[in-house]
Protein backbone atom coordinates (compact mmCIF):
# COMPACT_ATOMS: atom_id res chain seq x y z
CA UNK A 1 0.00 0.00 0.00
CA UNK A 2 2.80 2.43 0.80
CA UNK A 3 5.73 2.04 -1.51
CA UNK A 4 8.75 3.83 -0.11
CA UNK A 5 10.73 3.47 -3.32
CA UNK A 6 8.59 6.27 -4.81
CA UNK A 7 9.39 8.75 -2.05
CA UNK A 8 11.67 11.66 -2.73
CA UNK A 9 13.76 13.17 0.00
CA UNK A 10 11.33 16.08 0.24
CA UNK A 11 8.37 13.79 0.64
CA UNK A 12 10.27 11.89 3.30
CA UNK A 13 10.93 15.13 5.16
CA UNK A 14 7.31 16.19 4.80
CA UNK A 15 6.29 12.85 6.13
CA UNK A 16 8.67 13.13 9.03
CA UNK A 17 7.42 16.64 9.83
CA UNK A 18 3.81 15.61 9.42
CA UNK A 19 4.27 12.58 11.64
CA UNK A 20 5.84 14.72 14.34
CA UNK A 21 2.85 17.06 14.29
CA UNK A 22 0.05 14.63 13.81
CA UNK A 23 1.42 11.70 15.72
CA UNK A 24 -0.29 8.56 14.57
CA UNK A 25 -2.46 10.00 11.78
CA UNK A 26 -2.40 7.87 8.65
CA UNK A 27 0.81 8.49 6.78
CA UNK A 28 -0.99 8.42 3.46
CA UNK A 29 -2.04 12.07 4.03
CA UNK A 30 1.56 13.21 3.76
CA UNK A 31 1.94 11.72 0.34
CA UNK A 32 0.98 13.73 -2.73
CA UNK A 33 -1.64 12.27 -5.00
CA UNK A 34 -0.22 10.26 -7.82
CA UNK A 35 -1.92 8.80 -10.84
CA UNK A 36 -1.52 5.07 -11.03
CA UNK A 37 -1.26 2.89 -14.09
CA UNK A 38 -4.86 1.90 -13.33
CA UNK A 39 -5.96 5.55 -13.56
CA UNK A 40 -4.06 5.85 -16.83
CA UNK A 41 -5.73 2.73 -18.16
CA UNK A 42 -9.16 3.98 -17.16
CA UNK A 43 -8.53 7.42 -18.71
CA UNK A 44 -7.56 5.71 -21.95
CA UNK A 45 -10.56 3.41 -21.77
CA UNK A 46 -12.85 6.44 -21.31
CA UNK A 47 -11.46 7.77 -24.57
CA UNK A 48 -11.31 4.72 -26.78
CA UNK A 49 -14.03 2.54 -25.30
CA UNK A 50 -13.82 -0.99 -26.62
CA UNK A 51 -11.75 -0.05 -29.68
CA UNK A 52 -8.24 -1.40 -29.96
CA UNK A 53 -5.37 1.05 -29.96
CA UNK A 54 -2.72 0.26 -32.53
CA UNK A 55 0.86 1.33 -32.00
CA UNK A 56 2.26 3.57 -34.71
CA UNK A 57 1.63 6.73 -36.76
CA UNK A 58 1.93 8.89 -33.64
CA UNK A 59 5.28 10.49 -32.92
CA UNK A 60 5.85 12.05 -29.52
CA UNK A 61 8.93 14.21 -29.14
CA UNK A 62 10.09 15.00 -25.62
CA UNK A 63 13.73 15.32 -24.56
CA UNK A 64 14.68 11.95 -22.98
CA UNK A 65 16.39 13.66 -20.05
CA UNK A 66 14.58 16.61 -18.47
CA UNK A 67 16.22 18.75 -15.85
CA UNK A 68 13.13 20.71 -14.80
CA UNK A 69 9.77 18.96 -14.87
CA UNK A 70 7.94 22.28 -14.60
CA UNK A 71 8.35 23.08 -18.26
CA UNK A 72 9.03 20.30 -20.68
CA UNK A 73 8.76 20.94 -24.41
CA UNK A 74 6.54 18.39 -26.11
CA UNK A 75 5.68 17.94 -29.76
CA UNK A 76 3.18 15.38 -30.93
CA UNK A 77 2.71 14.69 -34.62
CA UNK A 78 0.64 12.14 -36.49
CA UNK A 79 1.45 10.65 -39.85
CA UNK A 80 -1.69 11.57 -41.81
CA UNK A 81 -2.46 13.18 -45.20
CA UNK A 82 -5.03 15.44 -43.43
CA UNK A 83 -7.60 15.29 -46.21
CA UNK A 84 -11.37 15.41 -45.78
CA UNK A 85 -11.50 11.60 -46.03
CA UNK A 86 -8.45 10.76 -43.97
CA UNK A 87 -7.48 13.09 -41.18
CA UNK A 88 -6.75 13.23 -37.47
CA UNK A 89 -9.76 14.21 -35.38
CA UNK A 90 -8.02 14.54 -32.06
CA UNK A 91 -4.83 13.83 -30.17
CA UNK A 92 -4.87 13.02 -26.47
CA UNK A 93 -1.75 13.02 -24.32
CA UNK A 94 -1.53 11.02 -21.10
CA UNK A 95 1.03 10.35 -18.40
CA UNK A 96 1.56 7.66 -15.80
CA UNK A 97 2.69 9.40 -12.64
CA UNK A 98 1.39 12.97 -12.44
CA UNK A 99 -1.49 13.48 -9.99
CA UNK A 100 -3.86 13.28 -12.99
CA UNK A 101 -3.46 11.03 -16.01
CA UNK A 102 -4.45 13.71 -18.57
CA UNK A 103 -2.06 16.24 -20.04
CA UNK A 104 -4.03 17.70 -22.91
CA UNK A 105 -6.59 16.99 -25.62
CA UNK A 106 -6.11 18.62 -29.00
CA UNK A 107 -8.96 18.73 -31.49
CA UNK A 108 -7.93 19.08 -35.11
CA UNK A 109 -9.67 18.74 -38.44
CA UNK A 110 -8.89 18.41 -42.12
CA UNK A 111 -8.26 22.16 -42.22
CA UNK A 112 -5.18 21.74 -40.04
CA UNK A 113 -3.08 20.66 -43.01
CA UNK A 114 -0.52 19.09 -40.72
CA UNK A 115 -1.26 17.06 -37.59
CA UNK A 116 1.35 18.52 -35.33
CA UNK A 117 0.95 20.27 -31.98
CA UNK A 118 3.64 21.69 -29.72
CA UNK A 119 3.22 22.78 -26.13
CA UNK A 120 5.04 22.74 -22.81
CA UNK A 121 4.03 20.31 -20.11
CA UNK A 122 4.74 19.41 -16.48
CA UNK A 123 6.04 16.07 -15.35
CA UNK A 124 6.03 15.07 -11.69
CA UNK A 125 8.35 12.12 -12.07
CA UNK A 126 10.37 10.07 -14.52
CA UNK A 127 7.70 8.26 -16.47
CA UNK A 128 6.22 7.22 -19.76
CA UNK A 129 4.15 9.73 -21.72
CA UNK A 130 1.62 8.36 -24.21
CA UNK A 131 -0.24 10.10 -27.03
CA UNK A 132 -3.32 8.59 -28.64
CA UNK A 133 -4.70 9.91 -31.92
CA UNK A 134 -8.23 9.35 -33.15
CA UNK A 135 -8.44 9.30 -36.93
CA UNK A 136 -11.44 10.19 -39.06
CA UNK A 137 -12.11 6.48 -39.75
CA UNK A 138 -12.54 5.90 -36.01
CA UNK A 139 -9.28 4.05 -35.46
CA UNK A 140 -6.93 4.86 -32.60
CA UNK A 141 -3.15 4.98 -32.83
CA UNK A 142 -0.66 5.54 -30.08
CA UNK A 143 2.94 6.52 -29.50
CA UNK A 144 4.91 6.67 -26.27
CA UNK A 145 8.16 7.99 -24.99
CA UNK A 146 10.04 7.46 -21.72
CA UNK A 147 11.27 10.57 -19.97
CA UNK A 148 13.68 10.93 -17.08
CA UNK A 149 12.95 13.95 -14.88
CA UNK A 150 15.43 15.22 -12.31
CA UNK A 151 13.35 18.05 -10.76
CA UNK A 152 9.71 17.13 -10.31
CA UNK A 153 6.75 19.43 -10.91
CA UNK A 154 3.18 19.71 -9.67
CA UNK A 155 3.53 18.72 -6.04
CA UNK A 156 6.41 20.82 -4.76
CA UNK A 157 5.99 23.17 -1.84
CA UNK A 158 4.97 26.75 -2.58
CA UNK A 159 7.65 29.13 -1.30
Amino acid sequence: MFDTSHLSRRQMLQFAGGAAVYGALPIITARPAEATPAMLASAIRDLVGEATVKVGKVKLEIPPLVENGNTVPMTVSVDSPMTADDHVKSVHVFNEKNPQPNIGNFHLGPRAGRAKVTTRIRLADSQKVTAIAQLSDGSFWSGSVDVIVTLAACTEEVP
Binding site: G18, P32, A33, N70, T71, V72, N95, N98, P99, Q100, N102, I103, G104, N105, F106, H107, L108, G109, R111, A112, G113, R114, A115, K116, V117, T118, T119, R120, I121, R122, L123, A153, C154, T155, E156, E157, V158, P159
Partner: protein, 107 residues
Protein backbone atom coordinates in the same frame (compact mmCIF):
# COMPACT_ATOMS: atom_id res chain seq x y z
CA UNK B 1 -3.57 41.72 -16.70
CA UNK B 2 -3.81 38.78 -18.93
CA UNK B 3 -1.50 39.17 -21.84
CA UNK B 4 -1.47 37.04 -24.93
CA UNK B 5 1.10 36.67 -27.66
CA UNK B 6 -0.01 35.26 -30.97
CA UNK B 7 2.18 34.67 -33.96
CA UNK B 8 0.44 34.28 -37.33
CA UNK B 9 2.22 34.91 -40.62
CA UNK B 10 0.84 38.20 -42.01
CA UNK B 11 0.85 36.85 -45.57
CA UNK B 12 0.63 33.38 -47.08
CA UNK B 13 0.11 31.70 -50.43
CA UNK B 14 -3.27 30.10 -50.94
CA UNK B 15 -3.13 26.46 -49.91
CA UNK B 16 0.04 26.81 -47.85
CA UNK B 17 0.24 25.12 -44.45
CA UNK B 18 1.03 27.80 -41.88
CA UNK B 19 2.06 27.55 -38.25
CA UNK B 20 0.25 29.48 -35.55
CA UNK B 21 1.92 29.97 -32.20
CA UNK B 22 0.25 31.33 -29.09
CA UNK B 23 1.48 32.16 -25.62
CA UNK B 24 -0.77 33.18 -22.74
CA UNK B 25 0.52 34.54 -19.45
CA UNK B 26 -1.06 32.48 -16.68
CA UNK B 27 0.27 30.79 -13.55
CA UNK B 28 -1.48 27.46 -14.26
CA UNK B 29 -1.54 26.59 -10.55
CA UNK B 30 -2.03 22.81 -10.65
CA UNK B 31 -3.92 22.52 -7.36
CA UNK B 32 -1.65 19.86 -5.88
CA UNK B 33 0.95 22.09 -4.31
CA UNK B 34 1.02 22.93 -0.62
CA UNK B 35 2.30 25.92 1.24
CA UNK B 36 4.90 25.52 3.97
CA UNK B 37 1.97 25.52 6.42
CA UNK B 38 0.50 22.50 4.66
CA UNK B 39 -2.50 24.22 3.03
CA UNK B 40 -3.41 23.10 -0.44
CA UNK B 41 -3.11 25.88 -3.02
CA UNK B 42 -6.38 25.86 -4.99
CA UNK B 43 -6.31 25.02 -8.67
CA UNK B 44 -6.22 27.95 -11.08
CA UNK B 45 -5.62 26.86 -14.64
CA UNK B 46 -6.73 27.57 -18.17
CA UNK B 47 -9.00 24.71 -19.13
CA UNK B 48 -9.79 25.45 -22.74
CA UNK B 49 -8.23 27.15 -25.73
CA UNK B 50 -9.83 27.60 -29.11
CA UNK B 51 -8.93 29.19 -32.41
CA UNK B 52 -11.53 30.25 -34.98
CA UNK B 53 -10.90 31.46 -38.49
CA UNK B 54 -13.65 33.67 -39.96
CA UNK B 55 -15.99 32.23 -37.35
CA UNK B 56 -15.20 28.56 -37.98
CA UNK B 57 -13.38 26.62 -35.27
CA UNK B 58 -10.10 25.24 -36.61
CA UNK B 59 -8.35 24.14 -33.42
CA UNK B 60 -9.38 23.47 -29.84
CA UNK B 61 -7.43 22.20 -26.85
CA UNK B 62 -8.55 20.99 -23.43
CA UNK B 63 -5.81 21.80 -20.96
CA UNK B 64 -5.08 20.07 -17.67
CA UNK B 65 -2.85 20.94 -14.70
CA UNK B 66 -0.02 19.11 -16.47
CA UNK B 67 0.34 22.01 -18.93
CA UNK B 68 3.21 24.26 -17.90
CA UNK B 69 2.69 27.83 -16.67
CA UNK B 70 2.18 30.42 -19.40
CA UNK B 71 0.66 27.90 -21.81
CA UNK B 72 2.36 27.80 -25.18
CA UNK B 73 0.60 26.15 -28.09
CA UNK B 74 1.69 25.73 -31.66
CA UNK B 75 -0.47 24.19 -34.36
CA UNK B 76 -1.03 24.32 -38.11
CA UNK B 77 -3.72 25.34 -40.52
CA UNK B 78 -4.17 25.73 -44.27
CA UNK B 79 -4.32 29.27 -45.62
CA UNK B 80 -7.55 29.31 -47.62
CA UNK B 81 -8.55 32.97 -47.78
CA UNK B 82 -7.79 36.30 -46.20
CA UNK B 83 -9.45 36.73 -42.87
CA UNK B 84 -9.22 36.92 -39.15
CA UNK B 85 -8.10 34.41 -36.55
CA UNK B 86 -9.75 34.71 -33.17
CA UNK B 87 -8.23 33.08 -30.12
CA UNK B 88 -9.94 32.44 -26.82
CA UNK B 89 -8.62 31.14 -23.52
CA UNK B 90 -11.05 30.09 -20.80
CA UNK B 91 -10.04 29.06 -17.30
CA UNK B 92 -10.84 28.70 -13.63
CA UNK B 93 -12.23 31.60 -11.57
CA UNK B 94 -13.94 33.11 -14.60
CA UNK B 95 -10.75 33.64 -16.56
CA UNK B 96 -11.40 34.66 -20.17
CA UNK B 97 -8.93 36.20 -22.57
CA UNK B 98 -9.13 36.92 -26.27
CA UNK B 99 -6.77 37.82 -29.05
CA UNK B 100 -7.00 38.08 -32.81
CA UNK B 101 -4.76 38.28 -35.85
CA UNK B 102 -5.37 38.88 -39.53
CA UNK B 103 -3.85 37.17 -42.52
CA UNK B 104 -3.69 38.14 -46.17
CA UNK B 105 -3.83 35.18 -48.52
CA UNK B 106 -2.47 35.65 -52.03
CA UNK B 107 -3.47 33.46 -54.92
Amino acid sequence: MASALVNVPPKAKKGAVIEIRTLMSHIMEPGYRRTAAGDLVPRDIITSFSCRFNGEEIFRADLFPAIAANPFLSFFTVATESGKFEFEWIGDNGFVANASATITVEA
